[in-house]
């Protein structure tokens, strides 16, 4: 008698074998949603405090349906994009210079440690005072949030270059500039991509925090506004949207990052 496993069991087994990480991650996600819904409806958690997936979904349908949420998403996305790209444009070259030139590293060392230790949030009121509650102030906050992560990961990458690789250029008589172009830059790219990923995360936190504190549109404002009105469903919706955005962006960058993993210097010591 041959035992035949039923179709659903087989499907699950194959999914699980395919990619354990995704499987358990999704399982965990689904599990939590189910738990949340049940707990909210049966009174384990007070609905007024945590809402429930069903209510969040309803709020989503409403706000996406009548388009009221789009201006907020657009505002946050715009502030994020501009601030983040500027932080990359300045942060990556600075990180490369700090990593490559020992004296530049030493000079900025203290300053970077100091700025890194300053909680950005503390500066937000000042920035808003300077630049108003609109677009510009958020861009500045996003820039500051992402900048240091980008600079630090970039120069760490340069400093992690396999010495052997630099030796090779020197051995064959190549100039420092050639070594920078042909060894340092390719070696550092995986780290720069890491920095982009981490910086993007910080930038997202920055934009939402700044909007929360003072703004008239954006996801952060959305969350704060509905928080005041005790509309927990919409607060949760804002959080969920933020989470989705963060995860999607993070995963996209990770995909690109993985393609360059082979270039990582620590694999080649």
């Amino acid at each position: 008698m041959i035992a035949v496993r039923s179709a659903p069991v087989q499907l699950i087994a194959r999914l699980r074998a395919g990619n354990e990480r995704v499987f358990y991650g999704v399982a965990g996600f689904v599990g939590l949603i189910v738990f949340w819904e049940v707990a909210a409806n049966t009174g384990i958690f007070r609905k007024s405090l945590v809402s429930a997936p069903s209510s969040v979904w309803k709020a989503a349908l409403t706000d996406f349906g009548n388009g009221s949420i789009w201006p907020h998403i657009a505002a946050s996305t715009g502030e994020f994009a501009v601030g983040f790209l500027v932080s990359l444009a300045i942060g990556i070259p600075l990180g490369l210079a700090i990593g490559w030139f020992r004296r530049v590293d030493y000079f900025f060392n203290g300053l970077l440690a100091g700025f890194n230790a300053t909680p950005n949030v503390a500066l937000i009121p000042l920035i808003i005072l300077m630049a108003g509650i609109g677009f510009e102030s958020k861009v500045i906050v996003v820039f500051l949030s992402a900048f240091f992560a980008v600079v630090v990961t970039t120069f760490t990458g340069v400093q992690s270059i396999a010495r052997r690789h630099l030796e090779i250029t020197r051995s064959f008589g190549g100039s420092r500039w050639l070594a920078f172009r042909t060894v340092a830059l390719p070696s550092t790219i995986p780290y720069i991509l890491s920095g982009i990923r981490i910086g993007a995360g910080r930038a997202l936190v920055g934009v939402v925090s700044a909007e929360f504190i003072s703004a008239n549109q954006g996801l952060g404002f959305y969350i704060g506004f509905f928080g005041v009105f005790l509309d927990t469903a919409r607060v949760m919706l804002g959080i969920v949207l933020f989470g989705i955005f963060g995860v999607v962006l993070g995963e996209l960058i990770r995909v690109v990052e993985h393609r360059y993993d082979v270039w990582r210097p620590e694999l080649h010591r």
Binding site: R164, I168, S171, F172, G173, G174, L178, S187, V262
Partner: protein, 265 residues
């Protein structure tokens, strides 16, 4: 293949450095004299710490000597010496062809021309067809072939090899030794080869310069009079074993100082 010309002539080379951990000044190399004629294959053989790799790096310019001088036979164009490293020697972001061309690029040759000049060396080392592959697609032995091709492509007078086969398994290593002799015959280079394996040194070289450690110094310079061309079977002949035994005793310190061979100058 011997000429009266010397590819390399070293006198009184000394190298000391400060151990950052203990602060002591240590003598890595103490007074080395060495002559390598054009076209010869000379091995530097010794235990860890005897300074053989350090000496090679001084010739290559990666480390500075504290005393003494080294003369390298100047070639018309490009570098006099090219190094074949032991490990992590290919750039993962370059194809095999770009890696092999890298030595030329460093010497100032434009990329396109460097690639053209490098291409035949890929065939020479037995990697025909692998031009556009990437290092991660190559086995250890193949990567070392590419490493060798890069050094050959520079067309230097002398080839410096720093334990190039140390990271390979025993079988691949033997194959590579035979291959190296084949390539050496075809390319007609002078080779200064560093190793700690006695059979490797005896098999490959015209001369084995035996070194001791602490401080690093030459304790013997042994002429290997085995007929060329040599294939791997020569390793099992009695003459080979005699040389091996002789060198092993030197290194193990069984016999005291051996009578000094004629200085090659």
């Amino acid at each position: 293949m011997r000429t009266e010309h010397l590819a390399l002539s070293a006198r009184g080379v000394k190298m000391q450095y400060r151990d950052r951990g203990t602060g002591n000044v240590l003598l890595a190399i103490d007074n080395i004299d060495l002559d390598v004629p054009d076209g010869a294959f000379v091995s530097l053989l010794g235990p860890s710490g005897c300074g053989k790799s350090t000496f090679l790096k001084i010739v290559n310019g990666l480390l500075p000597a504290t005393a003494g001088e080294i003369k390298l036979h100047r070639v018309a164009k490009g570098r006099e010496d090219a190094m074949v490293f032991q490990d992590a020697a290919l750039f993962p972001w370059y194809s095999v062809l770009d890696n092999v061309a890298y030595g030329l690029v460093c010497a100032g040759v434009p990329r396109g021309e460097a690639r053209k000049r490098a291409a035949p060396f890929i065939d020479l080392v037995g990697l025909k067809g692998f031009d556009e592959k990437y290092p991660y697609q190559l086995s250890g032995g193949m990567q070392q072939r590419a490493n060798l091709a890069r050094a050959l492509a520079v067309d230097s007078a002398i080839l410096l090899m720093d334990e190039p086969f140390a990271a390979l398994d025993a079988q691949t290593r033997e194959v590579m030794q035979a291959e190296l002799l084949r390539i050496w015959n075809a390319a007609k280079k002078t080779v200064l080869f560093v190793t700690h394996q006695i059979d490797e040194a005896v098999y490959l070289s015209d001369r084995v310069v035996v070194m001791a450690a602490r401080p690093g110094r030459v304790i013997a310079d042994i002429q290997i009079d085995l007929r060329r061309p040599r294939d791997l079977s020569v390793k099992r002949t009695p003459e080979f074993a005699v040389y091996e035994e002789q060198i092993w005793r030197l290194i193990a310190g069984q016999y005291g100082k051996t009578p000094q061979p004629d200085a090659a100058s």
